[in-house]
Subunit: 211 residues, 2 copies
Amino acid sequence: MSLTENHPRRRGRPPKRDADDHETRDVLLRAGVVALTEKGFSATGIDEVLKSVGVPKGSFYHFFASKEAFGAELIALYADYFIRKLDQFLLDDSLTPLQRIDAFCQDAERGMARFGFRRGCLVGNLGQEMNALPNAFRAQLTDVLIDWQARTERCLEAAKSAGEIPKSTDCAGVAAFFWIGWEGAVLRAKLERRAEPLHIFAHHFRAMVTI
Amino acid sequence: MSLTENHPRRRGRPPKRDADDHETRDVLLRAGVVALTEKGFSATGIDEVLKSVGVPKGSFYHFFASKEAFGAELIALYADYFIRKLDQFLLDDSLTPLQRIDAFCQDAERGMARFGFRRGCLVGNLGQEMNALPNAFRAQLTDVLIDWQARTERCLEAAKSAGEIPKSTDCAGVAAFFWIGWEGAVLRAKLERRAEPLHIFAHHFRAMVTI
């Protein structure tokens, strides 16, 4: 099923089976997120997503206008999920600010290990293949990363106030540096199917900010 | 043309037109490298590579056993090209060791700018989409990165001898950190179509190693 295929689509939902429809739509979105974290957008076929959750072929366009619209929803869904995860650590008052960043990195490692380092970051995957993607994804993906950076910057400012990092630290720059490098670490961990690249990045990042 | 298609293939080269064949093969390899640096493996169709250089459809299997064999050659070709580029900077005795790393980063930025930040790193692209690729690529891609790290480690050891970085620096670890993060920076520069992520990574990396 390609991006350019044109299927007749019924507008709006049918009057009955709204609850079922809603559930099926959620199931498709969850399966889509898994596919995109594992393989990215280009290598993911809509047919295979439908098949993986037992939804009949041909019903896709009842739920989504196009593969592009589906992709845009998946990015938004993943961003929401990830913000909750990030805040769970970066706003944890029981830890010092730098410990919160460490805790995030350790949780991300556990998350990758749980799926045998097969699943990476949806945003990193789609960022890498951006030249083959609908252009509207570019701003959407960039905005997600800028949001993650802003949350990390606030945590670094807290680290500065707590005396964990030097007063001279450029927290915005270091937060940007963290996300640039962390996406590289996730990529490499997925390539090598092991945690080592995440450790190396987190270790040197931590050593860098505290000096 | 998919990975699984099975085409009859003539073994060896025909007795005549060897020079032409050699040239066509080179043209296909160069076009393949461009496609893989721009879009990765999954989003690249063999038909489109053939079309981009005016080679008739159907002649692909005269030159390569499969899309996988073609991909493996492209990785090897890119690795050779990149080693020459890397050594051009990292072995440049007219610069101090850290200046050599800076010069490499600046050249990489010029290289990306020349193509409007559309072309990234072939190894990073394929690493990101590894779950959708032939498994034999995993070791091949990892070995390429390990080789680049070893060259960078030797340059960092030279920086240590020259007193540019502390005697206590873990040069192997820092070289690994550099390549993990640099691939992230190239990914992000391609996503945002601008040099800023490369600058941010290079600037903070440089600040980190010299402290």
